[in-house]
């Protein structure tokens, strides 16, 4: 593990030693609500998956402050290049739970038209939350290219590329950071060091003293921050965003956090994560930690907390009901969006599929179980 001490703002008792987050009361509560929504969304998705109503989900428990803290440092005109464990950033910026649930159910209203696995979101409004890819790290150089385009046009847009500790071993991490530094591209690289890449530990991923140190060799600042501390993440990412926006080039931020759940709903982390690690990180849960701050600031009581939870839970449950009741995508969506215009061979293949369905009936849905 890194010997560099991560920056922390929120003390265990909720104190912040005079730190000013630069957020209004409403904004502070919005941060809290967003973190809570991530957790409740996850909770419901786990139930939906266990009852066979959705195929798969990716839990975020423990990472909420990293996601929301980083998102809070961005403007709506900035872009997010997310990993598959980042949807709190989308929620924070106003993507609705129902839009996300459409993806979880892979229905006709899903922005990806049911073509991707659950959790592989793609949004363009109200913020660019870039289409998620399963191959690790591929989005990192893409964020750099998008940043180059913005810079070329003289825009002050910043790209946030987020990935896990495992992502730092990918080809895209190396090429992305290298290109960004050479081009002084307006990008913030956010490494969410959550302890595990599926079952592989940080020590199995790198012999470096943590991940932020890698920035030095690429020629950019590297910063380590307490990823369970909303304000610390917001502070560090805001500084990096400001540097990028004003022509100072990229930054690598390492947020030290912990994945309290499995890699996905198909993974049981108890087989490889020591129980004491879960216990020690449970005590650092970012949500109760932020609650203490809010309570201390007079913004949250146990009553308002309970009401908020009830409200968010109802919204998410309603989203799931709506999404489940929405029809699946039509057969024609297999063939559209491969190209801007439908080529002749795909028109023919689509026609063959329709003709066969008319003659022999629809294909039966399979019952495959995803292992990862």
């Amino acid at each position: 593990m890194s010997t560099t001490e991560p920056l922390t703002v929120i003390e265990p008792d909720g104190g912040v030693n005079g730190y000013d987050p630069g957020l209004t009361e409403d904004e502070l509560l919005h941060c809290y609500r967003s973190m809570l929504a991530v957790r409740l969304f996850d909770e419901l998705c786990l139930k939906l998956q266990r009852s066979g109503r959705i195929g798969f989900s990716i839990p975020n428990e423990g990472i909420e402050a990293t996601q929301v803290g980083a998102a809070s440092a961005l403007r709506k005109s900035d872009w997010i290049f997310p990993s598959y464990r980042d949807f709190g950033m989308a929620l924070y910026h106003g993507v609705s739970p129902v839009e996300m649930m459409h993806n979880m159910f892979g229905n006709a209203a899903d922005s990806a038209k049911g073509r991707q696995m659950p959790v592989h979101f793609s949004f363009v409004e109200p913020i660019r939350f870039y289409s998620i890819s399963s191959p690790i790290g591929t989005h990192i150089p893409q964020a750099v290219g998008a940043a180059y385009a913005a810079k070329l046009r003289g825009e002050d847009t910043v790209m946030l590329a987020s990935f896990g500790d495992g992502g730092t071993s990918s080809l895209g991490f190396h090429s992305g950071l290298n290109f960004a530094a050479v081009w002084k591209a307006p990008v913030v690289f956010l490494c969410q060091n959550n302890g595990y890449a599926i079952s592989c530990t940080v020590e199995e991923q790198t012999a470096s003293d943590g991940f932020a140190i890698k920035a030095q060799a690429y020629g950019m600042p590297g910063v380590v921050v307490d990823g369970n501390d909303l304000f610390a993440v917001r502070k560090v990412v805001s500084e990096a965003v400001e540097r990028a926006r004003t022509g100072g080039g990229p930054t690598l931020v390492e947020a030290k956090t912990f994945r309290m759940g499995g890699h996905s709903t198909s993974d049981d982390p108890r087989s490889y994560v020591p129980a004491e690690l879960f216990e020690s990180w449970r005590a650092k849960d970012p949500i109760p930690r932020f609650e203490k701050y809010l309570a201390g600031a007079g913004l949250l009581t146990s009553d308002t907390r309970a009401n908020l939870e009830k409200e968010v839970r109802a919204e998410i449950q309603d989203a799931a009901r709506q999404a489940e009741a929405t029809a699946k995508p039509g057969l024609e969506t297999i063939f559209s969006d491969v190209y801007a215009t439908l080529p002749e061979h795909l028109r023919r293949q689509g026609q063959e599929a329709f003709d066969l369905a008319a003659r022999k009936g629809d294909a039966a849905a399979g019952g495959g179980e995803f292992p990862l």
Partner: protein, 324 residues
């Protein structure tokens, strides 16, 4: 109309596109100051500046990955891969990302970009400067694959590729860079990205080919003519998506088919052409379909001229299907 080499026609196509659209830019290894190792981009940095024509770090994954990002954010990048043999670190970015982006985002994000790369043998480049990898990419829905064989087509197909809303792999037959010359219209024009070119009309044997194999097949056809065999040569030029109807029509015309490419035979592009004809026009066939291809070996250096299909081998196959 000026007469240009294939290389000059590509250079002209790049400059024409960059003049008419500010969002077009060109980058890759050594494309800036030097103008590319083959000098395809000579003079471009001088005319358009370092922001629109520049050298990148030596990373094919980085070149294609960043080009995708530029493309999704409003630019029309042309990414050069110095040799097609070096493209494989970027295979993931091309196949899993650029080609799938429109589909996986329901059209929210797209990658209108061109990947230009010299491919094929003929320069004694051995294993790693000679390969023809088109089959890997033609197996990839979402990608377009283009191979010009004349200066006219090189410029027109390149401009069409740059204007296309989807990613295009533009394979440049390096053996032809300076070996073919032809008339090239000035200014902007396009050649349809799903279209064949009938190189030579004939009634005896249909020969399908593309890239540097086109002049080889033309030479073989001249030789065959002396023996009374009239070849119909089709330059496939837009390999994917392909004008499949045009292929079937050309196959039916003679009922005798030879397919020629440099790449290895097994699972090569010729297999697809053969299967297509077998599925749609087998009753018209008067003879077995013959493939003339590179061997199923890595690409050799000293014996390159044996590996590459030549006039002899094409002629031999043409005679076989003609006399069958």
């Amino acid at each position: 109309m000026p007469t240009l080499t294939l290389l000059q026609a590509i250079n002209d196509g790049l400059k024409t596109s960059m003049r008419e659209d500010d969002s077009v830019l060109l980058f890759g290894e050594d494309v800036g100051k030097k103008g590319g190792v083959f000098l395809v981009s000579e003079g471009i940095q001088a005319e358009f500046g370092k922001e629109r024509c520049f050298d990148s770090p030596l990373s094919e994954d980085g070149i294609i990955g960043t080009a995708i990002g530029m493309a999704m954010n409003g630019l029309r990048p042309i990414a050069e891969i110095q040799f097609q043999d070096f493209i494989f670190p970027a295979f993931d970015q091309i196949v899993s990302e650029a080609a799938k982006l429109r589909y996986r985002s329901g059209g929210q994000y797209t990658a209108p970009m061109v990947i230009r790369t010299p491919y094929g043998g003929g320069i004694r480049g051995g294993l790693y400067h000679s390969q023809s990898g088109e089959a890997y990419f033609c197996h990839t829905p979402g990608l377009k694959v283009v191979v010009p064989s004349t200066p006219h087509d090189a410029k027109g197909l390149l401009i069409a590729s740059i204007q296309d809303p989807d990613p295009v792999l533009f394979l440049e037959p390096k053996a032809l860079y300076r070996a073919v010359k032809g008339e090239v219209p000035e200014g902007s024009y396009t050649v349809d990205l799903t279209s064949l070119r009938v190189v030579r009309e004939g009634e005896g044997v249909t020969v399908f080919c593309y890239g540097a194999m086109v002049p080889v097949c033309e030479a073989a056809a001249k030789e065959a003519e002396k023996n009374g065999i009239d070849c119909h040569i089709v330059d496939l030029r837009t390999l994917y998506p392909l004008d499949e109807e045009g292929v079937i029509e050309a196959a039916k015309r003679t009922g005798r088919v030879v397919v020629v490419h440099e790449a290895p035979r097994f699972c090569g592009y010729g297999g697809e052409i053969s299967a297509m004809i077998a599925e749609s026009a087998i009753e018209y066939m008067e003879a077995p379909i013959r493939r003339v291809t590179g061997f199923d070996t890595p690409f050799p250096n000293t014996l390159e001229h044996h590996y590459l299909p030549d006039k002899r081998r094409v002629l031999d196959a043409v005679e076989f299907v003609h006399n069958y």
